[in-house]
């Protein structure tokens, strides 16, 4: 049974009613809407092209290896951050938690082996859980909660490490394969990180609730009023951020053969930049793992590529800053944002 033909005024020749009905929704995606998500990819390809023309060696196996190795921890950190940014929040503590994780790994692996990895991942996930719990339950803005957590875990990391780098020699093999293993002559670390990004993208695209974090970022009240627990979703996002900080820590320990209380700290802003450059809205709701992958690649290509073509390191920073702002200016989907905060 449809509503069709049941209205009393149905087919009434009254022109005013017809006019009322004549609201055709503004729809259809314009060419701009379709192209915008592709801009980061175009930027990435353009960057690679420009750098290759200047320095043909850039596409060599050797530099690809370097590129993949440096993308691995950055991409993992960026993926973790992405979950939180999708909900409309921000996790400022994630790099500090990753640093803290490297300290735990360096301290625990010699005694516990693989068990140390599991335990460290549990701890970083738990840190994320607690952050999320405070944000969601106590309704404190995530910026504040994670700013506090940033200080807290940096401090604990410094304390338990004695404020120094801890070399990992005994038991290094547990993580060492990540740094040494080559698949088709390419480092497993980078490939693994990319595979993880693809898996996340597929899951978010196919799971029943795969877009729940997006929904939370776009319309929290509507999500809550649909009977979905926004508290649980928010805690989930922060827990994932903690877990991925831990994964990044494993990757860093493998690549650096050590753990240190500020090992991942320098990746904080590049990782946030990777998320945003890829096209994930800093205001939440729009974005995904493939976008983050492209964003992380742009960051790494910029960094590796600029020095490959011999750009002065001082200018590197300038390029870097300009690309971030330009990329976001081009990609941001203003139609979906009510205000630019």
């Amino acid at each position: 049974m449809t509503l069709m033909n049941r209205r009393t005024d149905e087919a009434a020749a009254d022109p005013s009613t017809a006019a009322l009905r004549a609201i055709v929704p503004a729809t259809g995606r314009s060419w701009r809407d379709r192209l915008t998500p592709l801009i980061p990819l175009v930027v990435l390809i353009a960057l690679v092209l420009v750098i290759t023309i200047k320095q043909p060696n850039f596409l060599s196996l050797y530099s690809m290896r370097g590129l993949l190795e440096s993308v691995a921890p950055l991409l993992l950190l960026a993926l973790g951050q992405m979950f939180v940014i999708l909900t409309g929040g921000i996790d400022l503590a994630f790099a500090a938690v990753a640093s803290f994780g490297t300290v735990l790994l360096a301290l625990w692996i010699p005694d516990m082996g693989p068990g140390g990895i599991v335990l460290a991942l549990l701890v970083t996930s738990l840190i994320g859980f607690v952050n999320g719990f405070v944000v969601a339950k106590a309704q404190v803005p995530s910026f504040i909660v994670t700013l506090g957590a940033l200080g807290l875990y940096s401090g604990i990391g410094l304390w338990i490490s004695g404020a120094s780098t801890i070399r990992l020699s005994e038991g290094y093999d547990v993580v060492g394969w990540l740094a040494d293993l080559r698949i088709a002559q390419l480092p497993a670390s980078g490939l693994l990180a990319i595979v993880i990004a693809v898996v996340i993208a597929v899951l978010m695209g196919t799971l029943r609730r795969g877009r729940a974090l997006h929904a939370l970022g776009l319309a929290e009240p509507a999500v809550l009023m649909s009977g979905i627990s926004t508290v649980r979703l928010r805690i989930l996002a922060f827990t994932l951020s903690g877990l991925f900080s831990g994964l990044a820590a494993v990757m860093l320990v493998a690549l650096q053969r050590s753990g240190g209380p500020s090992l991942a700290d320098s990746m904080q802003l590049p990782a946030i930049a990777a998320v945003v450059i890829g096209g994930t809205a800093i205001t939440g709701g729009v974005g995904g793992a493939m976008k983050t992958l492209v964003g992380a690649l742009i960051i790494v290509v910029l960094r590796v590529g600029l020095s490959a073509v011999g750009v002065d390191p001082a200018w590197e920073q300038v390029f870097y800053g300009a690309v971030i702002v330009a990329a976001v200016a081009l990609t941001i989907d203003r139609s979906r944002l009510r205000s630019i905060k």
Binding site: T2, R7, A19, L20, I23, P25, T206, R208, A219, A222
Partner: protein, 505 residues
């Protein structure tokens, strides 16, 4: 005698919707003109044209016989048209004087600084005009609602200073939250205002309008459909003009209202209380029954509906579903007990703007199109397509952003979201037809009847009394947080709006 304000053939369209369709009316000197009409009749649009917020597509406005064009609200203020807004627009954290002169401080500001003595003196002059004892230096926060309304009135009177003519003061639904003594004070105030100004009194409450007005205009679907002297007004006639139908029964599909006396009780509310909002509320809803709750703002009915859905906590009392007591800590619990909620704040709490029509439809029950934890895109397409067709949702396809649809179609998406849930048994409708056009309204009524026929228990907070009366099996009138009276409203012998109003205020 020239009219102080005259409007001729005013027309205003929005994206194909005709909000004003050739409205004409006039206000004579020292006259109180009542303007009545249902929600959506065009009252607000008309007021916005008169105060320069909207520009008309056609028609003229004459001020003391001179054609005038208001490009913005200060143009209107300069012409001596002041408005007391329905929702108060005062800045509560600053003083009365600052509010009265806000945006038109004139020489009370020098080099960016207030000249306080001057500011307060000007404000005092406005307060004196309406014989108010409020001090200009009081912080607005400390005033009661009724006192704040007087400040708004004084602010409206301030247009006189710039215009050098007798002002026209527009009062937009000033009585909606007032009652008893406060109401009497306002009426006295309007009588005093009559000596120094002309007044347009806007409301949808016939009794109040007739009491204070000299003449009354009826607006309906953007047209002025009637004009009468208040002294000789026939309430029934005005009411019919306002609602627009001899028989509203047809519009509301009253013949489809089925008796529910034999049906099992689905929802029992027992002594439910939320401190400061409502107290000791008890009622039953049977399967297939619509229980309408009527009441003014502040009656507690909005809060009650939110507590029923777990969106706000109760202080005491219980909710019983199918004989089993339930506790709702959040809407999550309510939904798992088979509750659904169509919120009044559709754009914020109803649709998830940014998600597609289909994603919105599957927000509540994604399991209806799934393989285990995964989405079943084919089935989702099928189901979403079926809802779009059945509820006649006007959208290019199911992937369109729901935020791009018109209000009525968004509301249908919200309905589809709940109906798609196989567990849904109790539906709370909070102003389900707010802002919808006539056709979409009727679709909602048909939908309510259909759901009742299937045994849905419905709690309804309607937009108008007519809607409450026509759709409900039982009507509860709430006042000051309590159920004041219960009315049976079987098809064919419905109570009159007047009966309800008596209990509401």
């Amino acid at each position: 005698m020239t009219a102080v304000l005259e409007v001729k053939d005013l027309t205003k369209r929005f994206r194909g919707v005709v909000a004003l369709d050739g409205v004409s009316f006039e206000v004579r000197p020292h006259e109180v003109v009542g303007l009545i009409g249902e929600n959506g009749a065009g009252k607000s649009t008309l007021l916005k044209v008169l105060t320069g917020i909207y520009q008309p597509d056609a028609g003229v406005v004459l001020r003391n016989g001179e054609p005038v064009t208001f490009r913005n609200s200060s143009d209107a203020a300069r012409a001596g048209i002041g408005m007391v807004h329905q929702e108060q627009s005062l800045v509560t954290s600053v003083s009365v004087a600052e509010n009265i002169l806000l945006g038109a401080e004139g020489d009370a500001v020098r080099f960016g600084f207030y000249n306080w003595p001057k500011l307060n003196a000007v404000a005092q002059r406005q307060l004196d005009k309406i014989a108010s004892a409020i001090s200009p230096t009081t912080i607005v926060e400390k005033l009661s609602f009724a006192e704040r309304q007087l400040v708004e009135l004084a602010k409206a009177m301030y247009v006189e200073e710039g215009a050098q003519v007798e002002p026209v003061i527009i009062l937009d639904e000033p009585t909606s939250v007032l009652e008893g003594a406060e109401l009497e004070t306002l009426f006295a105030q309007i009588d005093r205002l009559r000596q120094i100004a002309s007044v347009i009194f806007v409301s949808h409450r016939l009794e109040e309008v007739l009491r204070v007005s000299d003449r009354v205009y009826v607006l309906k679907d953007g047209r002025s459909v009637g004009e009468t002297d208040a002294a000789s007004a026939d309430i029934d006639l005005l009411h019919r003009l306002m609602v627009g139908r001899e028989s509203s029964a047809q519009f509301y599909h009253e013949d489809e209202q089925l008796p529910v006396d034999e049906a099992p009780v689905k929802l029992q509310v027992k002594n439910l209380t939320r401190a400061g909002q409502f107290e000791d509320v008890s009622f039953d809803v049977r399967a297939g029954e619509v229980v309408g709750i009527a009441g003014v703002i502040g009656s507690g009915r909005e809060e009650l509906s939110r507590v029923l859905f777990g969106a706000e906590p109760s202080t005491s009392g219980s909710i019983v579903v199918d004989g089993k007591p339930v506790k709702f800590a959040s809407p999550v619990d309510a939904v798992s007990s088979g509750f659904g909620y169509i919120p009044a704040e559709r754009r914020i709490e109803g649709i998830a703007d940014g998600l597609s029509v289909a994603e919105n439809i599957f927000l509540v029950a994604p399991q209806t199109a799934a393989w285990g934890p995964f989405r079943n895109p084919k089935k989702a397409l099928e189901i979403a397509g079926a809802w779009i067709k059945r509820l006649r949702i006007r959208t290019p396809d199911e992937r369109t952003n729901v935020g791009n649809l018109s209000g009525g179609n968004q509301q249908k998406v919200v309905l589809a979201k709940w109906l798609n849930s196989p567990e849904l048994e109790v539906l709370i409708l909070d102003h389900p037809t707010r802002g919808l056009d006539v056709g979409a309204k009727e679709d909602v009524y048909i939908f309510v009847r259909e759901q009742c026929a299937k045994g849905m228990a419905v709690v309804l907070l309607a937009d108008s009394l007519e809607e409450t009366i026509a759709l409900s099996h039982t009507i509860l009138v709430m006042r000051d947080g309590r159920i004041e009276r219960r009315f049976d409203a079987p098809a064919g012998s419905k109570p009159k709006p007047v009966d309800l109003v008596e209990r509401m205020v």
